[in-house]
């Protein structure tokens, strides 16, 4: 998943496919503006694009393997963004705008402590080596039951799934939660915990496997 705060760059596949691509004007402008450092949001802003358009477009390009999210070593990060260890970035308008802004950084915290929070839903619960059943149906049945069943339950299930990072949803490789087999299992514990976190966030209840 890409966030608005990611610095993006064109993938090697972009150079291979560039001559065959048919894109809209603003999509080319976005792709050609990527420098690996400026955040997706900032590039979008400079092109007059709103956040939803930027995310939708970036997700699509990611899926087509035309772009990648840039990751940094600690030394690269501190050098590129002019951050001293233990301090917030000197300018809030760098590529980590929003992540590293002083208002969101705890006093004295290492800059790494916030850069690691990029995927809170997936990372907030530790992944056990052995854990609960990964069967999806009982979890979704729980959501539907907890919210009163019927259409209300379906809406609650939808809202829970919106909380799950998209790569984890993709990894489930299912087309609909309504037609899953009783024995269908989530691909990993990360997906399980993301759904459980989603349930907590949407329904304010803790899921406990039967």
């Amino acid at each position: 998943m890409i966030t608005l705060h990611d610095g993006l760059e064109r993938a090697s596949k972009f150079d291979e496919l560039a001559s065959t691509l048919q894109l809209r004007r603003y999509e080319w402008a976005f792709l050609l503006a990527l420098d690996g450092r400026t955040s997706a949001r900032e590039i979008g802003k400079s092109l007059g694009l709103d956040d939803t358009t930027v995310l939708t477009m970036a997700d699509f390009f990611l899926e087509q393997q035309l772009i990648v999210a840039r990751s940094y070593s600690l030394s690269e990060y501190t050098r590129l963004f002019n951050v001293k260890n233990g301090a917030a970035p000197t300018t809030a308008s760098t590529a980590v705008n929003g992540i590293g802004s002083p208002a969101q950084t705890r006093t004295g915290a290492s800059p790494i402590s916030f850069s690691l929070k990029r995927k809170p839903a997936a990372a907030s619960t530790p992944t056990p080596t052995t854990g609960p059943s990964l069967k999806l149906k009982p979890i979704m049945d729980f959501v539907i039951r907890q919210s009163g069943g019927g259409t209300t339950g379906q809406i609650a299930a939808y809202r829970v799934l919106l909380k799950v990072p998209r790569p984890l949803l993709q990894a489930m490789k299912i087309e609909s939660i309504n037609f899953i087999d009783d024995n269908f299992e989530l691909p990993n514990h990360e997906a399980y915990h993301a759904i459980v976190d989603g349930i907590k966030s949407v329904l304010n209840v803790t899921y406990q496997a039967a």
Partner: protein, 147 residues
């Protein structure tokens, strides 16, 4: 999205078809769709911004669109009028929803697609589908709202 929001869309879909074709649609059990898009022959998408963000779309088979046009007295049946019509239908359904969602429910001009190509939404975003039947046809409205 809440029950009330969903009911608004259901009522508007029913009202639209009843008023323009004099045939009421029948709503089916909603479906949550992930990953692969199931788009029918013609689809109209509306991007939502403002307080709610996301997309609303309607996907219909060609035969249904032709029947709808016929009910409305339209004699054209080429690809261009079918794309225009599916865009106008989703635009009307979504715009009517502003009575419930308010002026901050901002609506774009429609984007249309024939078949499975050119869907402007990322298929990674879960969609809430409202399948319905109208006369002998099956179609659906998809709602992908983040709020």
């Amino acid at each position: 999205m809440t029950d009330k929001d969903l009911k608004v869309f259901i009522d508007i879909i029913c009202h639209y078809f009843e008023k323009t074709t004099r045939h009421a649609p029948e709503l089916k059990e909603p479906v949550i769709e992930l990953n692969q898009f199931r788009l029918l022959d013609y689809t109209g998408f509306i991007k939502i911004s403002g307080n709610n963000q996301g997309w609303v779309y309607i996907s219909m088979p060609k035969g249904m669109l032709l029947d709808v046009l016929n009910c409305m007295g339209e004699s054209l049946s080429d690809r261009s009028i079918l794309l225009d019509s599916v865009g106008e239908i989703v635009s009307i359904i979504t715009s009517n929803a502003r009575e419930h969602f308010g002026a901050q429910f901002q609506i774009s001009v429609p984007v249309t697609s024939a078949g499975k190509e050119n869907a402007p939404i990322s298929h990674e975003m879960p969609r809430f589908l409202l399948p319905f039947s109208w006369r002998e046809h099956q179609a659906y409205v998809g709602i992908a709202l983040l709020a």
